[in-house]
């Protein structure tokens, strides 16, 4: 009987439009929720079966089916956005590491090591000009002390950059473990939940993105709509099972087996590069400066003669040739008279000329040496400037790329309030129309009832 069937259709319409209204309200409520994707009720017309009979239509009715819920989600775009965001985290971390190292060396300027070196050589020339003056020798010792402490401090600051990266790695491991656990929980919830649950999927995607940003983790689809998470070639999350990472030693390792984590991207990759490549490289460059300073000055100094005609004295401690340890030798520290300013081959017929500053002059000339500490330091700075510049522009470029990828992914999934408003209005109208149908059927039935009275 068609009349009763339309009542059922109208009822299903009411229910469906209410559902649409509910979902629209859910969408609007989550308009600013991170990682939320717009949900839609998949309205499907319920197949027709116009069987006659008073209550026959209850199971096979016309109308609309509103059981299915889908989310606007493009897997490829989302994966791309996640990958680019991971690269961005890595590029930003590298760039801030380089900026931190750059700040250790305030060049060009009047406070950097270059300036200290210049002043050091200049003091040697001061001693060469007046070798008899204790003031000039004392000034040299104080400039040398300033230079060595600057080198010591730069080395300590570099170590500080390394230590900061190590500390960050250890807190990163804790974050990764927490996220992995949450992900395993979500996986469990997905397997136990009946039907599709878009909110759970969104929640999982947010966790996956966070993991990707931290470690460059990648996902592989698994059975039952789950995903497994891999870092490098090793699984971090499989279904409800998670591996653990350990960062307490400063390097990221797998707790199970204690092997190093090979993070392909993300913050972890940048931190690992900082500790294994960037900092050691600049420390080695700084050590080259220190070693060349110690070797160059000592070679000339130990051949020279001091005010008491003693030769063979060292200026820098020859056993401390790194930037972290460089120091004045015990020969000259606090003993300006022991600075060997006099030439080894004495021009005069008599004992060493007290006012002969030829050896000091030779040391001052190291300033111009193309293999000397100044050149080594300039090489360090020019390399650092270039690398920092490259890191900064890479981060800026990656930001554009990541912003584009994120925008593309969002354009599919994020909430457009205009759209929701339109849906709201359309659901409201449809609800009204369905109610109108019920009223019409009711009226028809009343007429029918009255005609039999």
């Amino acid at each position: 009987m068609p009349n009763i069937s339309s009542l059922n259709s109208a009822y299903s319409g009411l229910a469906a439009q209410r559902r649409v209204l509910d979902v629209t309200a859910h969408n609007i409520a989550n308009a600013n929720t991170k990682g939320y994707h717009v949900q839609r009720v998949d309205l499907v017309s319920a197949g027709q079966s116009a069987t006659s009979g008073l209550f026959a239509g209850a199971s096979k009715t016309n109308g609309v089916n509103s059981d299915a819920l889908s989310r606007s989600y493009d897997e490829l775009l989302a994966a791309r956005a996640s990958r680019e965001e991971a690269s961005l985290s890595s590029a930003t971390t590298s760039s801030s590491t380089m900026a931190a190292i750059e700040q250790i060396f305030p060049e060009p300027g009047d406070t950097g090591i270059a300036h200290q070196l210049d002043q050091f050589w200049s003091s040697w020339s001061g001693v060469a000009t007046s070798p008899g003056s204790t003031a000039a020798r004392t000034e040299l010792l104080s400039k040398a002390g300033a230079l060595t402490s600057s080198l010591n401090r730069a080395a300590a600051d570099l170590q500080g950059v390394h230590d900061a990266a190590a500390a960050r790695t250890s807190s990163l491991a804790i974050d990764v473990n927490t996220l992995a656990k949450q992900l395993a929980d979500v996986n469990k919830a997905i397997t136990t939940s009946l039907g599709s649950n878009p909110d759970l999927l969104d929640h999982r995607d947010v966790l996956l993105n966070s993991l990707a940003k931290l470690t460059g983790a990648t996902t592989r689809p698994a059975a039952d709509g789950l995903v497994d998470v891999y870092v490098g070639n090793r699984a971090l999350v499989v279904g409800e099972y998670t591996e653990q990472m350990d960062g307490s030693s400063g390097t990221l390792t797998w707790t199970n087996g204690n092997q190093p984590v090979d993070a392909p991207s993300g913050v972890a990759a940048a931190l690992a590069a900082t500790m294994t490549d960037v900092v050691p490289r600049y420390r080695a460059a700084l050590d080259t400066v220190a070693a060349s300073l110690v070797a160059g000055v000592n070679a000339l100094h130990s051949a020279g003669y001091d005010t008491s005609s003693t030769t063979g004295r060292t200026f820098f401690d020859p056993t401390r040739t790194t930037a972290a340890t460089i120091a004045l030798s015990v020969d000259v520290a606090g003993a300006p008279g022991n600075i060997a300013a006099g030439a080894p081959v004495l021009p005069g017929p008599t004992a060493p000329g007290v006012l002969d500053g030829e050896q000091a002059r030779a040391i001052a000339r190291l300033a111009d040496s193309v293999t000397g500490p100044n050149t080594a330091y300039r090489t360090l700075i020019s390399g650092l400037a270039t690398e920092t510049n490259a890191a900064t522009s890479r981060a800026a470029l990656q930001e554009q790329v990541a912003a584009g990828a994120t925008r593309d992914a969002e354009s599919v999934g994020s909430v457009n309030l205009d759209e929701e408003m339109a849906n709201l209005v359309s659901a409201q109208r449809a609800y009204e129309a369905n109610a109108r149908v019920i009223k019409a059927v009711d009226e028809m039935l009343s007429i029918l009832m009255q005609s039999f009275r």
């Binding site: 000329g353 111009d368 510049n389 909430v415 205009d418």
Partner: protein, 296 residues
């Protein structure tokens, strides 16, 4: 492409942030007066600036050496010039003494001899001229160049100064070169004057004649030393003027790579300010409205 509210909000915020960052950088350039705030802003300029700075420091350091060289040479020059005057006066006295014959002139011979001895000590003090703690004629030795007996106590060391990159110069003459080598042949000028005074005192005409001749050759030695000092002084002056030119050139070069063009920086900063204000206004207009404003 589907555009949503959160996308728009995010991109507007990002653009505003970028714009504000640029504004801040350009203002920082203007206030610090530096073209590059960090070395990574312009790696090439950093390298150039560093080597220019080093050259400038070296130039300043050599400027100090130049000053030192000039005072050493000036002292030596005036000592030798005064010494030559003293020597020519000594010759006049010697000639006058030679023309005074006879034993009755003993008193005036004593006076002549005393004059010669006074000149010797005058010359001695000139020979011991000092600049700071350094006797200019003593080579690299400490203390005086000559002791009271006229013995050279200096050494034969050259006093070398680095006056320009890879240009070092000797800026002294030793006592031996200026006043003669003592102890052999005619001896140094002090020995000559000593013997002359004695010869005048005892009235020995042949000895007086011989010492007069020695005096002439001592004066020759001194004037050639003066010439050497003069040549050295001229070169130092020439190098000093070149060094001053270099300094100016280096300062200009450094300013070119390090300093900001203030007019350009101001215009840039104004431009960024305008751009920032414009984006703020646009953002204020774009973000609020939605369909909700029209459904009432």
């Amino acid at each position: 492409m589907r555009v949503t509210n959160s996308m728009m909000l995010r991109s507007t915020l990002r653009d505003l942030n970028t714009s504000l960052g640029r504004l801040q950088e350009s203002q920082q350039r203007t206030t610090t007066g530096r073209a590059n705030l960090r070395m990574s802003d312009n790696p090439t300029a950093t390298t150039v600036a560093m080597s220019t700075r080093q050259d400038l420091r070296r130039n300043e350091q050599m400027g100090r050496e130049l000053d030192d060289a000039r005072s050493l040479l000036d002292a030596a020059d005036s000592a030798l010039t005064n010494g030559l005057t003293t020597l020519s006066r000594a010759r006049e006295v010697a000639i006058a003494a030679a023309n005074t014959g006879g034993a009755s002139q003993g008193a005036s011979r004593e006076a002549y001899a005393a004059q010669i001895r006074a000149m010797r000590s005058e010359l001695m003090s000139l020979a011991n001229t000092k600049v700071g703690d350094r006797s200019v004629f003593a080579g690299n030795a400490a203390g005086n160049a000559y002791d009271a007996t006229g013995t050279y106590t200096g050494d034969n060391g050259s006093v070398v100064r680095d006056l320009a990159p890879s240009l070092s110069m000797t800026v002294n003459v030793t006592g031996s070169a200026a006043f003669g080598v003592g102890g052999s042949g005619a001896g140094n000028v002090f020995e000559v004057l000593d013997r002359l005074a004695t010869a005048i005192q005892i009235g020995d005409p042949s000895a007086m004649a011989a010492e007069q001749a020695n005096l002439v050759s001592a004066a020759d030695t001194m004037s050639s030393a003066t010439a050497i000092i003069g040549v050295q002084g001229e070169r130092v002056l020439e190098i000093a003027s070149r060094s001053a030119d270099d300094k100016l050139r280096l300062q200009t070069q450094l300013s070119n790579v390090e300093d900001v063009d203030i007019v350009q920086a101001l215009i840039e900063s104004k431009e960024q300010e305008t751009r920032y204000q414009a984006s703020l206004q646009v953002a204020a207009k774009i973000i609020p409205p939605s369909l909700m404003d029209f459904l009432r």
